[in-house]
């Protein structure tokens, strides 16, 4: 396993992570439903995690992996908060479409 992981050149991890990140970003830009928006953001964060884990392995220090765990926890917290906000949003605007609440502008 470790052998396998280390046999793959780090560049590929970078590419993978970047790919995942871009997918997430694409979702953010295209999806109007706030939940999808949220998930896409999660995807972007996990792309970062891939890097951390991979390069922790590459450099052989644990900081990256530990930090990845932190990130996961924070992401969870963020989602929790997000859901809460989405709830009140739905109560007030009766929708989860992010483009609808645009009363404040300019």
């Amino acid at each position: 396993m470790t052998a396998v992981a280390s046999s793959i050149p780090p560049t590929w991890y970078l590419l993978l992570a970047s790919a995942v990140f871009c997918i997430g970003l694409f979702g953010v830009l295209t999806r109007r439903n706030v939940l999808y928006f949220l998930m896409s953001v999660e995807l972007m964060m996990n792309a970062a995690n891939i890097n951390f884990v991979a390069f922790a392995l590459y450099y052989g220090d644990l900081t990256g992996q530990v930090f990845a765990l932190f990130v996961i926890a924070l992401a969870a917290a963020e989602v929790a908060i997000g859901i809460g906000i989405i709830l009140v949003l739905y109560r007030n605007f009766g929708t989860t479409d992010v483009t609808v609440p645009a009363e404040m502008r300019w």
Partner: protein
Amino acid sequence: MVDAFAYVPAIVLLPFFSFLVALGAGRYLPKGGAFGGIAATAGSFLLSIWVAATVAGGRAYNETLYYWAGEGGAGIGPTDIELTFGVLIDPLSALMLVIVTLVALLVHVFSLGYMNDEGETGLPRYYAGLGLFTASMLGFVVADNLLMAFMFFELVGLCSYLLIGFNFREPGPPSAAKKAFLVTRFGDYFFLVGVVAVFATFGTAQFAGPESFPALADAALNGSGSVAWTPGGLELGTWLTVVGLLVLGGVVGKSAQFPLHTWLPDAMEGPTPVSALIHAATMVAAGVYLVARMYGFYVLTPTTMAVIAFIGGFTALFAATMGLVKDELKQVLAYSTISQYGYMMLALGAGGYVAAVFHLTTHAFFKALLFLGAGAVIIAMHHNEDMWDMGGLKSKMPVTYYTFLAGSLALAGIFPFAGFWSKDEILYEALVHGLNDPLLLGGYVMGLLAVPVTAFYTFRMVFLTFHGEPRSDTARDPVPVRWNVKGPLTVLGSLAVVTGFINMVPVQKVLGLEGIDLLHLWLDNHWGGIEGLSSHHYADIGPYSSAYLVGGETGTVLVGAAVSLGLALLGLGLAWRLYNVASPTEHTAKLGGIKDVLYNNYYLDELQVWLAYRTEDVAGGANTFDQGIIDGVVNAVSSVSLTGGGRIRQLQSGVVSQYAALLTFGLVALLLVLGATGGWFL
């Protein structure tokens, strides 16, 4: 013994105090402070006599009394200059002091009658004005340098403004006052430039002494000295001519010479005594006096002399012609004033320094006399000045008539009255010097032509006013005048008769009597004076040489005198024929088209008004430009910024996914910029 010169400042200050008194306490004093003024001018008069006597005693005085600014010398580039006040007493200024104080005194006395009979309200203001006027003029007379002279020159202008505009509740006087100040101001602009130029050129503006600017100029011209500065490689002679002409601008303005004479006739809006003061002894005299004062500078530059002479001659004739057709008493006198000062300028330009001063003296007396006489008539006529409403006053007011007649004869230049001697000498000087100088000769011719015209309008005035049948009710029953009017008239009348005898040059020349040309001797430092300020000195450094007609000097004298007297009598006779009848009529119609031209003063006023309006148009244009373009740009900047802000805020569309897109876009852009500059992707 106590030194009279120590009291010279008092001569100036006494009237000034009367000004303060009248201004401050006038309304509590009888006659609005008149007596204060009389006392002050009387005091000044006596002091002036004393000063003159001292000068006659062979002494003169040239002291700097007060450092106005720049004590110790402040730099203007290479030169250090001081700005000072001082007193210069020489025969010329001593004589002038006497004249001014005397006329001022008489005018004050006369005013008692003239103003108070009017039940005038603003008397304190009036006497304050007279006091300040006298004080300024006296300060100008004793000034020992050009700057001080300019200062008091300006103050004289201010006073004329205040006095001409005395009846400010009527529309006329304020306008006349404004015109008087503005036109003279225009001349004074050149004068001021001239003063500054003198300082820049010589580093001093003293009139007298080895360090005076005429002396320095003389030295520089004959190579024994140099000046501190001449602009941009200008040749010295040329530059001095320019300076002289610049100063002359002020003279032309104040002495009402062509083309800046237009203010003077309007100035008749002022009370008549003021007119007497202005025309006889103060404001108008100031110009001529200035030229005489710095004559030593003018004689150095022939061009300037010629210009002065020509302007003078032309003005003499030009103004006289306009006097022909006027209907108001004072208007005629006004134009006669312009004309007479033209003679003086002619004299100065012709090198007739003494002649000019002589005429200044005689004219001061007979013109004051004429104005006061006119004043008396105007009192009698209930302030109606139209000569066509008068007539036949001869019998009603004999004193006025005979004094007025004396003055008129003097003005017309009839032997043996004062005017004859002085005018004759002027023409003589112009002739003998003019024979070598065509321009000067032109001046002489014009001066000569003016003689009959003068005589004509003078006696037209006399006849219309005093002779014939009364042409109105007021003329039939005029208001009697009192001692305070008759007194001054008598004094001046007698002076108008006798003043001529102080300088009977023709008699001297013809009969070969020595020492009766008192004024010549006086101005030639015969009894004393200041080196470099004598008529001989002027003649020596002057540009002119004399030439004579048949019969040499004596012959020329006789011919000249005969011609001018003859012409005068000719004019007188014509006036007699036309107007000395029971009920005279207008003869101006005979002049045809010329009449309108003369009535309208050759349309010079129109021209100046037109110029004023054009200036206002330019100003209006400038204003539009200022509001439209310059301020427009300023406001445009703000509006542009605000529109820009309006555009920018459009970015904030309110839709969050657009924010996400823009944000990503921005980030990518940043990436590209840095990537490009850093060259990462290579």
